[in-house]
């Protein structure tokens, strides 16, 4: 009785070992004696024939996988100068990439190649060699970077998509630079650019100071001129007002006004002047001082 129970239990356990669950981002590749049961099992609970008849391998298909690629010969081995790539204008650069990919055909991915990552790296570098051999180094280091990554993505996908059942979702250029022996020369160009820019900025700064200064000087000149003009006019007006006043008086009583004016003039002359009165009929010559003579007409 017990023997039967134990026997039943063993058989039950054996058959029950065929249950398995597939996680939310996985697919289950189930085989029966080698034949792949299509399609790959979606997430959920499934059953396969117990070992050794049936097996299952679960693969995460939504996880984005990353590969860091450094285009150097002897992957993994550090060889001097191993990572140099030629550009179209016979210059040399080094570059490294980061590849993101997902699995779209788990069966292929599982069975067709032992280390898919390696193959991806090789293809990336092979395409990088081809792409850079057509570019100028200045473009490759600067404006050409997006073109490099997009072309690598296209070419790698074309090459290995069907082969490995993967889809490259993005390619990043994690670094592209001139080789170590010439790096400082390249850096010197950047600093020369910066120097040149600084020269121009200094000149502009100076200009931005000089021109306003000149303008304010100009304004001052004009202001002074205006003031002078004002003063001129005011003075003249003042004089003329006095004249018109005198004229009015003259028009009323001409002789009196004439006399008044004479006297007024003399009064102001009397202060600080030596006055000498001379009768010309009596005097022959008169020394006026400073070598001048008043000569009486003979």
């Amino acid at each position: 009785m017990i023997k039967r129970l134990v026997f039943a239990l063993i058989v039950g356990l054996y058959l029950g070992s065929g249950f398995y669950s597939v996680g939310p981002s996985q697919r289950g590749v189930e085989t029966f004696l080698g034949r792949v049961l299509m399609p790959p099992r979606p997430p959920g609970l499934h059953y396969h024939a117990p070992w050794p008849f049936g097996r299952v391998t679960k693969i995460d298909v939504s996880r984005v996988r990353t590969e860091d690629v450094r285009c150097s010969w002897g992957f993994g081995r550090m060889v001097q100068g191993a990572s140099y790539l030629l550009t179209g204008d016979e210059n040399v650069v080094q570059c490294s990439f980061q590849i993101h990919y997902i699995i779209y055909d788990p069966v292929k991915f599982l069975y067709f190649y032992e280390k898919p990552g390696d193959l991806i790296k090789r293809y990336v570098c092979a395409n990088a060699v081809d792409i850079l051999a057509n570019m100028k180094i200045d473009d490759a280091l600067t404006v050409g970077r997006p073109m490099i990554t997009s072309r690598i993505k296209d070419m790698v996908n074309k090459g290995i998509r069907d082969l490995l059942g993967i889809d490259v979702t993005s390619v990043l250029l994690s670094g592209i630079e001139p080789p170590l022996p010439v790096k400082s020369a390249f850096a010197a160009v950047s600093s020369a650019k910066a120097d040149a820019q600084r020269m121009v900025e200094d000149a502009m700064g100076q200009s931005n100071r000089d021109i306003p200064k000149a303008r304010s000087q100009a304004t001052r000149t004009i202001t002074i001129a205006n003031a002078k003009a004002r003063e001129l006019l005011d003075t003249a007006k003042g004089d003329l007002d006095a004249y018109y006043a005198a004229l009015k008086k003259f028009n009323q009583s001409p002789d009196q006004t004439r006399l008044d004016l004479y006297i007024d003039t003399l009064k102001s002359l009397m202060n600080g002047l030596d006055i000498t009165v001379v009768d010309p009929s009596k005097v022959m010559d008169l020394y006026l001082g400073r070598g001048m003579f008043l000569q009486k007409p003979r």
Partner: protein, 291 residues
């Protein structure tokens, strides 16, 4: 006792019968041999049936993709330029029987394929100028090289080893180390030239800005001076006009009045005044004294 022996033998027979079933997984070949002689090949995944051991045996041959790296070698272009090139080949077993009867192992196959690619690569490169490999003006022919290599290698490996070469790619292309030194010198010299150019351009621009500024400043000041002269001139003209109007009002009186003003101004500074008894000034003085 009999039961145990019975169970034991049943299990033995079951195990023996089980050798009739061979699971064949994807990317796998199974070669069925009869007493050492291969009789058939299973290339479809799934369970396969054969005669039980020892009549027929099953040998598994990997059908996965393999990668063979072709060590970089120095090659010469048509125009006698040196390049170091490396490549890789992706291949898999296609005909296991042929494979087993030729290279037999994967390592051996790898070596043979590597050598083949290397020599074909050398030939291919020797028929093309350097321009076909690196150029900025026209498209390079690396793809053509890859395709030519693939074509040649594929055919040979298929017929000789039962191997399907899926792809051949050049993965490395660089000048030899000796040349690299010259290349680096040239690169450094070129960068120096570019740096000089930037500096010169900057200087030129800066100088232009300064001379333009100078011109502007001069113009601003000159314009202002001119304007100032204009303003003063206008004022003077106005004054003149006013004076003329005053003169027009009574020319004689104006003259008289002006003369007196002039005398005041000229003689204000002090000095000597000589008056003749004939002069009107004297007559005024007399008049004053009398008053």
């Amino acid at each position: 006792m009999k039961k145990v022996i019975g169970i034991f033998f049943s299990v033995l027979i079951l195990v023996w019968l089980a050798t009739m079933v061979v699971p064949v997984y994807p990317a796998q070949f199974v070669v069925i041999t009869r007493l050492g002689r291969p009789v058939r090949v299973i290339d479809r995944p799934g369970p396969a049936i054969k005669a039980p051991w020892p009549f027929e045996s099953a040998t598994h041959i990997g059908g996965r993709l393999n990668l063979t790296e072709v060590t970089p070698l120095e090659v010469l272009t048509q125009d006698k330029k040196n390049l170091v090139m490396g490549a890789f080949a992706v291949w898999r077993v296609m005909d296991p029987l042929k494979f087993l009867s030729s290279v037999r192992t994967f390592d051996a196959a790898s070596v043979r394929i590597g050598d083949m690619v290397a020599s074909l690569l050398g030939n291919q490169v020797a028929s093309m100028p350097l321009n076909d490999f690196i150029s900025v003006d026209h498209p390079t022919a690396l793809k053509k090289v890859d395709q030519a290599l693939l074509r040649q290698v594929k055919n040979r490996c298929k017929s000789a080893f039962g191997i399907d070469v899926v792809d051949v790619r050049v993965e490395r292309m660089i000048f030899p180390d000796d040349n690299l030194r010259h290349v680096f010198n040239r690169m450094r010299a070129e960068r120096r030239r570019i740096a000089k150019k930037y500096r010169a351009e900057g200087e030129e621009k800066a100088m232009k800005i300064m001379s333009d500024t100078d011109l502007k400043v001069r113009k601003i000041l000159a314009d202002a001076k001119m304007k100032a002269l204009q303003i003063e001139g206008d004022a003077q003209a106005k004054v003149l006009a006013l004076k003329r109007k005053a003169w027009e009002s009574n020319p004689e009186f104006y003259r008289f009045y002006r003369r007196l003003q002039a005398v005041k101004t000229v003689l204000k500074r002090g000095g000597q005044l000589i008056i003749s008894t004939n002069s009107w000034l004297f007559s005024i003085l007399e008049g004053i004294k009398a008053k």
